[in-house]
């Protein structure tokens, strides 16, 4: 048991952290916001928590709270300009935001440790803490999907004109999605800070952005299972075979092209859909049988 944990513990931790970021990315996409800002929001949460702990000796619990709060606040501020933009323009604006946070993190050496990174963060978060956070966020995402919030996000994503015609204030709901996404990114950023001793600005750069996007695209952007499955497969894949690990970037690249072209809804959502359709077909067949 102990040796099993030693071998797989780090991977489990990585999975739980990345799952949080995947859910952050998932939420905005679900509400039809074309944002790639999760990397920057996670950086904001992580650095808030890290700086408070290292420079001011703040208790980690407060640091995590502050990181979550800052992630939410930054997202809310950002949601105002984003509400005026659409589609690719949102993508470009959020890419710029990621770049701004990255540059400022490197530049503000006195505060963030600059390119060298922020060192000596107490490592107080372990697997149980990550697991608790991941379960909580999974529950919230599941709950969102079964209440009016999820329904509203869905109609906005599918067709804004329809949403508006039903009385949905699109900017307000997208701001909500964005704030939730920021809260989750901030929370998991802070957890990452307290899980890894050190932060370095480049953790939250392009590769982070591509990874979180890949989890969601691969798994699916609709059901809760999407990010759960997508993150699991993409993190486990490199562990399964050495060539896959050595060509990780290549594998991600090919998978992105293949999945978006041939399974555009992602693996989990496609499977769920197929299962749902089979059930409907069986039910209709049974009904026809009964009529006879």
């Amino acid at each position: 048991m102990a040796s099993l944990y030693n071998a797989w513990g780090p991977i489990l931790d990585l999975y739980l952290l990345q799952l949080g970021f995947a859910f952050s990315q998932y939420l905005v996409l679900r509400a039809g916001v074309f944002s790639l800002a999760t990397a920057a929001l996670a950086a904001i949460g992580a650095y808030t928590a890290g700086i408070l702990a290292v420079k001011h000796g703040v208790h980690p619990a407060l640091g995590i709270l502050a990181g979550t709060g800052m992630g939410t606040a930054a997202a809310l501020v950002l949601s105002w300009p984003l509400a005026r933009l659409r589609g690719v323009y949102q993508a470009i604006a959020t890419l710029a935001f990621v770049q701004i946070v990255l540059s400022l993190n490197i530049w503000a050496e006195g505060l963030t440790g600059g390119a060298m990174g922020l060192m000596n963060i107490p490592r107080v978060v372990g697997t149980p803490g990550l697991l608790a956070a991941a379960v909580a966020v999974t529950y919230i995402i599941w709950a969102i999907g079964r209440t009016r919030i999820g329904r509203t996000f869905d109609v906005i994503r599918e067709n804004e004109a329809v949403a508006v015609s039903l009385g949905v204030s699109v900017p307000r709901w997208q701001a909500l999605a964005f704030a939730l996404s920021g809260a989750i990114a901030g929370l998991f950023g802070a957890l990452e800070a307290f899980h890894s001793y050190a932060l370095d600005p480049n953790i939250f750069g392009f590769s982070f952005l591509i990874a979180t996007l890949s989890y969601v695209v691969f798994g699916g952007r609709k059901s809760v299972l999407g990010p759960l499955v997508g993150t699991a497969v993409l993190i486990l894949l490199p562990e399964l075979a050495r060539p896959l690990a050595e060509n990780r970037v290549l594998v991600y690249g090919l998978l992105l092209i293949l999945v978006i072209n041939f399974l555009p809804r992602g693996v989990a959502d496609t499977l769920l859909d197929a299962w749902h359709r089979r059930r409907l077909a069986r039910r209709s067949a049974a009904a026809a049988e009964a009529l006879r």
Partner: protein, 256 residues
């Protein structure tokens, strides 16, 4: 004035194209008002102006005596105005039930936190909305298909889902943009009954339609539009036999 919709000297320009010009109309509650005109006459533009999806260039729009000319589209919908779309707009992968349930948006009141945590209040509300949606779907005779994805339905059924979604908002005015386009005679006769029922409930209805028999059978009052201008109004029979209207249709190369 007894409520309903009132357009006063409404105008809309797209760059050089005048899509609506000095349009005066009223759509009273409890009656079906028709709006006809050849392709490109500006009928859909009127719907978009009324529902706030396009900005008004000139004139004003009153709804139950309230000026909604420059109100944001979602506020107009919340005031009790619903529409269907000429080119059907459903969530194709979602079930009929889910498509109809989003229509209840403006009646959902459970708190955000309750919804986020799926507290009992939110779960209860969702169940209540599901029941109301199922009742509506049953009324339209689609109960057996409620769990089927809307995208796989026939054209006529999809139009019905759109109307159900609009009805879920419980509107006092409903704008129907070609509700029987692409339907067969049986379906279209059923739809006529539905629309009559809505008017009998006291709702104001603006019906846009190319099928003249359908219009004649339903509408108490008809407006005819051409090139963004009203060219005739009155009883269906009178408007349809108006030489100016006939000329407008015959002059149109796309006349069906």
């Amino acid at each position: 004035m007894t409520g309903g919709l009132e357009l006063r000297a409404l105008g809309k320009r797209f760059g050089g194209v005048v899509a609506a010009d000095d349009v005066n109309m009223s759509v009273p509650p409890g009656r079906i008002t028709g709006l006809i005109g050849p392709n490109g006459a500006g009928k859909t533009t009127i719907v978009n102006l009324v529902t706030g999806m396009l900005s008004v260039s000139s004139g004003s729009i009153l709804f139950d005596g309230r000026d909604i000319t420059h109100a944001p589209a979602h506020a107009i919908a919340r005031a009790g105005l619903a529409r269907t779309f000429q080119n059907i707009r459903l969530m194709p992968e979602a079930s009929i039930l889910d498509n109809v349930m989003v229509g209840f948006h403006r009646h959902e009141t459970s708190g955000l936190l309750a919804a986020l945590l799926r507290l009992p209040a939110a779960a209860r509300e969702t169940r209540a909305m599901r029941d109301r949606a199922m009742a509506l779907i049953g009324r339209f005779g689609l109960a057996a298909l409620a769990d089927h994805p809307a995208g796989g339905l026939s054209y006529g059924h999809q139009r019905r889902v759109e109307i159900m979604r609009a009805l879920a908002t419980d509107p006092r005015l409903i704008l129907l943009d070609e509700p029987v386009a692409g339907m067969n005679d049986v379906e279209s006769a059923e739809m006529a009954e539905v629309i009559r029922g809505l008017a009998a409930e006291g709702r104001a209805i603006l019906l846009i339609e190319h099928d003249m028999r359908f219009v004649t059978g339903l509408c108490a009052h008809v407006y005819a539009l051409d090139g963004g201008r009203l060219i005739a109004e009155g009883s269906a029979r009178a408007v349809l036999s108006d030489p100016v209207v006939i000329e407008a249709y015959l002059g149109s190369p796309l006349d069906a």
